[in-house]
C-alpha cells in the first residue's frame, strides 16, 4: 500500500546493506535522486541490477555501494565508457565488483518472469555467443511440444525496486508515460518498492485508457522529488541533459575528480537540489 514519505525516509526504511536492488528506467526516468540518497546513507554490499548501468550505477559503484552488478549493457550511451565501473572491474577500485552479465532480451524477460511469479524466463536467445560460457545462470530447456532448445535465465525478484515517474495521485496510484522501459515489471517483481515522482496531483489524468498505471496497492514508498531523474529526463517535464552525459566522461575519468564531484554534488546536498532541474513542459 502506497505511503508518502520523504526520500530519506523511503531509503532508510527500504534499502538495507546487502540487499538486491533494481533501479530501472531505460534512458528515460532514471531514479538519480534515489541513487544519490542511497549513496548518502552509506549503503554497502548491494547487488545492483539494471539493464543499462549508466551514470547512476557508475556513481554508486564508484562510491563503494555495491559488491555485485547484474547488467546487460554498461556504458555512457553515445559517449563512451562508464569509467568508475571499468575501474572497479579492471582494478578493483574502490572495491572488487562481481559481475553477472546478460543480454537485454534476457533481462527484460527475467523481469517479466519476476512480475509473472514464474521461476525463470525462456527466450530464443544467446545463440552462438560466448556469454553462456562465462555466466552459469544462463541455461536451456527443451520445448516439450516442438523439441526446440531455448535459453533460460532465472526470474529477477529484487529485494527493492526503485523507479522514478511523472506523477502520482493522492491515493498513490502512479502514472508512467513515454519510454516506459521495464519499470512496471520491476515494481511488480520486487518485494519492496520506492517510487520518486515529479508531482503529486488530485487526478492522474492519463491520456489513454491503456496508460501504464501502477495501482497504489502495488507500490510501497512514494517520495516527491521534482527533477529527480536529472540528468535523465521525464517526458512532459524536462529533457535529457545530453550535455551532462557528455561532460561526465571527463568528470568521472580520474578518481580524485570523481570523488570531489560526488562530495560537492551528492554528499553535501539533499534531494531538494534536484528541484533546480524540474520543469513542467507547456504541452
Amino acid at each position: 500500500m502506497a505511503k508518502f514519505m520523504t526520500l530519506a525516509e523511503a531509503v532508510a526504511q527500504n534499502v538495507r546493506d546487502g540487499d538486491t536492488v533494481a533501479m530501472e528506467g531505460f534512458t528515460h526516468l532514471i531514479p538519480f535522486a534515489a541513487g544519490h540518497e542511497v549513496i548518502r546513507q552509506g549503503r554497502k554490499h548491494l547487488t545492483l541490477i539494471r539493464m543499462t548501468p549508466d551514470l547512476i550505477y557508475d556513481q554508486m559503484i564508484g562510491m563503494g555501494c555495491a559488491d555485485k552488478l547484474v547488467f546487460s549493457w554498461g556504458g555512457n550511451p553515445g559517449v563512451g565508457s562508464t569509467h568508475r565501473i571499468r575501474d572497479a572491474v579492471e582494478n578493483q577500485w574502490p572495491a572488487p565488483l562481481a559481475i553477472e552479465e546478460h543480454s537485454h532480451a534476457a533481462m527484460a524477460n527475467a523481469y517479466e518472469a519476476g512480475a509473472a511469479n514464474l521461476p525463470f524466463a525462456v527466450l530464443r536467445g544467446y545463440i552462438g555467443v560466448d556469454l553462456p560460457k562465462v555466466n552459469p545462470k544462463i541455461k536451456s530447456v527443451t520445448c516439450p511440444y516442438t523439441g526446440e532448445v531455448l535459453a533460460t535465465v532465472p526470474a529477477i525478484r529484487p529485494d527493492v525496486g526503485i523507479i522514478h515517474a511523472g506523477r502520482a495521485d493522492r491515493e498513490g496510484n502512479v502514472l508512467l508515460e513515454g519510454i516506459v522501459g521495464c519499470q512496471k515489471e520491476v515494481v511488480l517483481a520486487s518485494k519492496r518498492t520506492i517510487v520518486t515522482v515529479e508531482e503529486i496531483v488530485e487526478k492522474l489524468d492519463a491520456k489513454s485508457y491503456n496508460s501504464v498505471v501502477l495501482p497504489h496497492w502495488t507500490v510501497g514508498a512514494i517520495a516527491q522529488v521534482p527533477g529527480g531523474a536529472h540528468p535523465s529526463y521525464a517526458q512532459g517535464y524536462y529533457k535529457r541533459d545530453n550535455s551532462f552525459y557528455i561532460a561526465w566522461d571527463k568528470l568521472s575519468r580520474e578518481r580524485e575528480g570523481f570523488l570531489a564531484w560526488m562530495k560537492e554534488n551528492v554528499l553535501d546536498k539533499t534531494p531538494e537540489a534536484f528541484a533546480a532541474h524540474a520543469k513542467r513542459s507547456a504541452a
Partner: protein, 255 residues
C-alpha cells in the same frame, strides 16, 4: 563532386543498403546516423525501431542515447522494453538489424564485451545489450564500422553476437534461419559474405582508397571479388542531408 571524409562515405554507403519497406532495428552511433540518412533521402517510409521501445520513429536530430525523448515524441507508438524484445524482435517482425561494434572478424562475428580474458579484462567494453538477439532474430544484419587493425581482428577474444560463427558454418549447424550479416559498410570499402564460405569479401572499394590501405587496416588478409567496382561517390544530396542532421544534432546536444 565536393570533398567528403571516409566517415561520411561509410555512413552514406550504409544508408544506401536500406530499402523503403524495411523494418529496421537501429543500433546507436554510426547505425543510427545511417538509418536516419536513409529515411531522409531514398527511403522516406522506412520503419525505424529503437530498443527503447519506439516504433516508427522520425527524429529531427540524431539521438545521443537509444532512448532520447525525441525518439518517443516522433514515433508512431512506444511499447515497453520486454514487449519490444519479445513480440517485435523475437516475434520475427524486423527485416534488418543494424549493428556497430568494437571488434569484428572475417565471419562478421562481433565483440563488444572484453579485450583480454573475461575474468581479468584488459579493456572492459559495454557488453552486448540488444545485439546477441538482434543478430539472430532479424531477417538480415547490416554492420557499419570503421576499419583499423585493433577493430578488424583475425581472432576475437569474445563473441558477443554471432555473425556467421567462428568457421562460417555455425548458423547452419545451429539451425538459425535468419541470414545473419549480409553487408558490412566500412570507411574504406563494402564487404558481403562469400555465398559458400561466408567469409566477408570486399565487393566495392570507396573512391580514392587503395588495396594497400585496406591491408594496413585489416587484421586478416581480405579477399576481393573479381572485377571489383568502385563505390559510387556520395551525391550532393546525400552529403548535404548527412551534414545537416549532424549539425542539428551537435547543436541540440551541446545546448
Amino acid at each position: 563532386m565536393a570533398d567528403f571524409t571516409p566517415n561520411e562515405m561509410m555512413t552514406i554507403a550504409a544508408a544506401r543498403a536500406l530499402k523503403n519497406d524495411d523494418v529496421c532495428f537501429v543500433g546507436i552511433g554510426a547505425p543510427s546516423a545511417a538509418c536516419n540518412l536513409a529515411r531522409l533521402t531514398h527511403a522516406p517510409q522506412i520503419t525505424l525501431i529503437y530498443e527503447s521501445g519506439t516504433i516508427g520513429t522520425r527524429p529531427n536530430v540524431l539521438p545521443l542515447s537509444i532512448g532520447d525523448g525525441e525518439l518517443c515524441e516522433t514515433a508512431l507508438c512506444t511499447v515497453s522494453v520486454p514487449e519490444m524484445f519479445r513480440y517485435w524482435l523475437q516475434g520475427g517482425r524486423i527485416t534488418v538489424g543494424f549493428l556497430g561494434g568494437a571488434q569484428i572478424d572475417k565471419f562478421a562475428n562481433i565483440n563488444t564485451t572484453v579485450v583480454g580474458p573475461y575474468d581479468k579484462p584488459k579493456v572492459r567494453l559495454p557488453g552486448g545489450g540488444g545485439a546477441p538477439e538482434i543478430a539472430t532474430n532479424c531477417g538480415e544484419i547490416f554492420i557499419t564500422m570503421a576499419m583499423g587493425k585493433r577493430a578488424f581482428v583475425d581472432k576475437l577474444p569474445f563473441i558477443t553476437s554471432m555473425g556467421h560463427g567462428p568457421t562460417g558454418r555455425e548458423r547452419r549447424d545451429l539451425k538459425v534461419k535468419s541470414l545473419g550479416p549480409t553487408r558490412l559498410m566500412t570507411d574504406l570499402c563494402v564487404f558481403e559474405p562469400d555465398p559458400e564460405t561466408k567469409e566477408m569479401t570486399i565487393v566495392s572499394i570507396h573512391p580514392g582508397v587503395t588495396r594497400e590501405q585496406i591491408a594496413e587496416n585489416c587484421g586478416w588478409t581480405p579477399r576481393y571479388i573479381d572485377n571489383l567496382p568502385e563505390t559510387p561517390a556520395p551525391t550532393a544530396l546525400e552529403l548535404e542531408t548527412l551534414r545537416d542532421i549532424q549539425a542539428r544534432t551537435k547543436a541540440a546536444h551541446a545546448a
